[in-house]
C-alpha cells in the first residue's frame, strides 16, 4: 500500500548511526511554555521531551496549532510577546542549560551556535535593508567580522546556497528577489556563523514542489558538510521520510510518539500517528485528501485526560481522566497512549 514514501524512509534509515554517537547536542526535558492571554493560559508547549545529536535530524510533525513553532521558539527563547513565558523544564545544549543563561549569554548563542529558519521565510527578510546588510549582521555581531572580510564571507555564503550572481544580489533588496531566492538567503543567514544546531520551521511550505526539493537537498548537503544537528518541523510526512532520521509526533502541545523514521512509518503505534499517516495521499489510494475528523482541543482549556480522546477510535474510560505519558515500548520507540501495550 505504500510505495515511494516507504522507500524513501528505508533510504533514510540506511544512513550509518555513527554521527549519533556520544552525548546529545540538544536535550529538551519536560519543556513547558505557556502564553498568558486575556482568555487564559495557552499551554502551547506542555511538557515536551526530545533530543538531537550532531549530524542527526529530527522531524517534528503534527497538525497546525499543535505547538511545533512554539517549541522551536522556546529553544531560542524568542517567545510571543506579550504573554509568552517558559514555565518549566530544561533545555540542555552542548551540556549547558539554556534556561539558566542570562539574556546577554542567550543573545550570543542565538544566530551563532543555534540558528533558526522561521516558518514564513518569505516575510522574514527586512524590506528596508539590503541582502548584504542582513547577511553581514550576524557575522559582525557574533564573529566580529567587519568591512571586506564580512563582505567576502557574505558572498561566500550566497555562493554556498547556490544563489546566482551573488555580487549583484548582495546589493539588492528582498522585493527584488523571487521566493526561492529569498528562501536561500534566509538559509545563508542561518548558516553564516556555522551553527552546530539548525532549527527549520516548515521551511518549504511556501515554495512550489521543484524549488522545495532543491531546497531540501541543499539543507541536507549543508547538514552533512558541517555535521549539523537539525530539527525539521513540518506537517508533511513525505518531507520527514526524505530528510529525517528520527520523528516526533506532536499533538496539543505534547510529543505523543517518537521513533526512528523507518520504525514509525512501519509501525505507528499512537492512534494520532496512524491517523496522520492515513491522511497521506500516497497511502490513500482513493486519492481524496483526507483529514482527521474533529478538532484539536483548545490549548487554554485542555481536558484532564488524553488530548486526543474526543477524536480517538480506541478511546476508553481511563483516557478521559488520566493523561498518558511517553513510555518506551521498543528500543528508541516511545508512545504516550493507554491503548498501546507496554506504554504509559
Amino acid at each position: 500500500m505504500s510505495g515511494a514514501l516507504d522507500q524513501a524512509a528505508a533510504g533514510r534509515s540506511g544512513t550509518p548511526a555513527a554521527p549519533g554517537a556520544g552525548a546529545p547536542l540538544l536535550e529538551v526535558k519536560d519543556l513547558r511554555m505557556h502564553i498568558f492571554v486575556r482568555r487564559g493560559e495557552v499551554k502551547a508547549v506542555d511538557g515536551v521531551n526530545f533530543s538531537v545529536r550532531r549530524g542527526e535530524s529530527l522531524g517534528i510533525v503534527g497538525e497546525s496549532g499543535s505547538g511545533k513553532s512554539m517549541t522551536l521558539l522556546s529553544v531560542m527563547q524568542v517567545l510571543p510577546q506579550p504573554g509568552g513565558r517558559i514555565v518549566g523544564g530544561q533545555i540542555l545544549f552542548e551540556g549547558e542549560d539554556l534556561l539558566r543563561k542570562t539574556a546577554r549569554q542567550m543573545r550570543d548563542i542565538r544566530g551563532n551556535r543555534i540558528a533558526m529558519i522561521t516558518q514564513d521565510t518569505l516575510a522574514s527578510l527586512n524590506p528596508a535593508l539590503t541582502i548584504g546588510v542582513q547577511l553581514r549582521e550576524p557575522l559582525e555581531v557574533h564573529l566580529g567580522m567587519r568591512g571586506k572580510a564580512a563582505n567576502e564571507r557574505a558572498l561566500e555564503l550566497l555562493r554556498h546556497v547556490q544563489l546566482s550572481d551573488p555580487a549583484r544580489q548582495i546589493r539588492s533588496y528582498p522585493h527584488e528577489m523571487s521566493g526561492g531566492m529569498r528562501q536561500r538567503v534566509v538559509g545563508a543567514i542561518a548558516i553564516g556563523c556555522k551553527p552546530s544546531l539548525l532549527l527549520a520551521d516548515e521551511p518549504t511550505t511556501a515554495l512550489d514542489v521543484t524549488v522545495q526539493a532543491q531546497y531540501l537537498r541543499l539543507l541536507r548537503e549543508i547538514q552533512k558538510e558541517t555535521d549539523l544537528g537539525m530539527i525539521f518541523v513540518t506537517h508533511d510526512f513525505g518531507i520527514v521520510a526524505k530528510v529525517c532520521d528520527h520523528v516526533a509526533v506532536m499533538y496539543a502541545g505534547r510529543i505523543v510518539e517518537t521513533a526512528a523514521t523507518r520504525e514509525l512509518f512501519d509501525r505507528p503505534l499512537h492512534p494520532y500517528s496512524s491517523a496522520l499517516m492515513d491522511c497521506l495521499p500516497q497511502r490513500n489510494l482513493d486519492a481524496r485528501l483526507r483529514t482527521i475528523p474533529g478538532h484539536p482541543p483548545d490549548l487554554a482549556q485542555l481536558p484532564p485526560g488524553c488530548g486526543f480522546a474526543d477524536r480517538c477510535s480506541r478511546v476508553h474510560e481511563r483516557c478521559r481522566t488520566e493523561a498518558p505519558s511517553l513510555a518506551e515500548v521498543a528500543p528508541g520507540h516511545k508512545v504516550a497512549c493507554w491503548d498501546v501495550e507496554g506504554a504509559a
Partner: protein, 306 residues
C-alpha cells in the same frame, strides 16, 4: 533626481496657483476692505473713491490677473492698513514663527518617538500604560487651556518663566512646550501603533533569532519600517503648527505669522493675507517634497517607482 525635482516644482506652481485663487475668491466674498479703511461716518462717495483707487471696482478676473502678474515679478502689493510691502511684513514674522515651531517640533520628535517606540516594545507594561495615559490627557486638553495651565504653573506659580512676549530662550519655552505637547502626544500614539504592527512581523522575529541587541532590533529593523506614518505626520505638522500656533501666539502674545494672517483677514488687508497664504502654501509643498524623498529612503520598494 532632476526629473523628480522638475515634477515637484511643477506641483508647487500648480498648488500655489490653486491656493491663491481659492483664497482670493474667499477674501473677496468675505467683504469690502474699503468699508473698513474709512471711518464709519464717511460718505458713500468717499468709499467709492477709495475702492476705485485700490482697483477694487474692477472685475474679479482683472484683479486676480493683476495680482498674478505682479506676484510673478515678486511684487505682492502693499498692506492696505500699514502701507508697507505685504511680503516684507509676512517674512518679518517668520523668524519668530520658525523659532517656536522648530523648538516645538524638536521637542515633540525627541520625546514622542522614543516614548512611542518603547511603549510598543513594552506593550502592556506600566511604562506603556503611563505613556498612554499621558497621551490621552495631552490630546484631550485644547492648546489654549494647556497654555494657560503652563502659564499658571511656571510663570505665576513657580515664577521661573515669563508669561508672554518674545525675548531670550526663557520666553520661548512655554509657547514651544504648549505647541509641542499636542504634536508629541500625536507622534507617540502614531509611533506606538505603527511599531506594534512592525514588531509583530517575521523580519523582527528573524532579527531576534539572529541574536541582535534589542536597541538595534527596535531602531534599525523596527523603526526604519514603522517611520513612514510618523514622517508624514511630522512633515504635515511643520505647516500645521503655523495654524495651531495662532492660538498659542494669542495666549503668549507671540509675534508670529499665524496671528498676522488672522488679523489681516479680519481687517480685509488682502495683500498681506494673500502673501501669507502663498508663503505657507509654498512651505507646505516643500515639506511634501521632502517627505517624498524620505519615503524613498525609508522604503526601497517605493524608490523604484518614483
Amino acid at each position: 533626481m532632476g526629473r523628480q525635482l522638475a515634477a515637484a516644482f511643477g506641483r508647487v506652481v500648480v498648488t500655489l496657483f490653486v491656493a491663491s485663487l481659492v483664497v482670493f475668491l474667499l477674501l473677496h466674498a468675505s467683504g469690502d476692505p474699503a468699508r473698513l479703511l474709512v471711518p464709519w461716518t464717511a460718505t458713500p462717495e468717499r468709499v467709492a473713491e477709495i475702492r476705485s483707487s485700490l482697483g477694487l471696482d474692477r472685475p474679479l478676473y482683472v484683479q486676480y490677473g493683476k495680482f498674478v502678474s505682479h506676484a510673478i515679478r515678486g511684487d505682492f502689493g502693499e498692506s492696505l492698513v500699514f502701507r508697507r510691502p505685504a511680503m516684507e511684513m509676512v517674512l518679518s514674522r517668520f523668524p519668530a514663527t520658525f523659532e517656536v515651531i522648530g523648538v516645538a517640533l524638536g521637542l515633540a520628535l525627541l520625546f514622542g518617538i522614543p516614548l512611542g517606540v518603547y511603549s510598543a516594545h513594552r506593550r502592556g507594561s506600566w511604562f506603556d500604560k503611563s505613556a498612554r495615559a499621558f497621551a490621552a490627557v495631552g490630546q484631550g486638553i485644547p492648546s489654549f487651556v494647556m497654555g494657560i495651565i503652563l502659564i499658571f504653573i511656571f510663570a505665576l506659580g513657580l515664577r521661573v518663566l515669563p508669561t508672554s512676549g518674545r525675548g531670550g530662550i526663557t520666553h520661548l519655552i512655554l509657547p514651544a512646550l504648549t505647541l509641542a505637547i499636542y504634536v508629541m502626544v500625536a507622534l507617540l500614539r502614531l509611533t506606538r501603533s505603527s511599531m506594534i504592527d512592525v514588531l509583530g512581523t517575521e523580519y523582527i522575529k528573524l532579527a531576534r533569532l539572529k541574536g541582535l541587541r534589542e536597541s538595534r532590533i527596535l531602531w534599525r529593523h523596527g523603526f526604519r519600517n514603522g517611520a513612514m506614518p510618523v514622517v508624514t505626520f511630522a512633515g504635515i505638522m511643520i505647516v500645521g503648527m503655523i495654524g495651531a500656533g495662532v492660538v498659542v501666539e494669542a495666549v503668549f502674545a507671540w509675534p508670529g505669522v499665524g496671528g498676522l494672517i488672522v488679523s489681516s483677514v479680519q481687517a480685509r488687508d488682502f495683500p498681506v493675507a494673500m502673501a501669507g497664504v502663498l508663503v505657507i502654501t509654498a512651505l507646505y509643498s516643500v515639506s511634501a517634497f521632502v517627505i517624498d524623498l524620505l519615503y524613498g529612503w525609508l522604503d526601497p520598494r517605493i524608490r523604484r517607482t518614483q
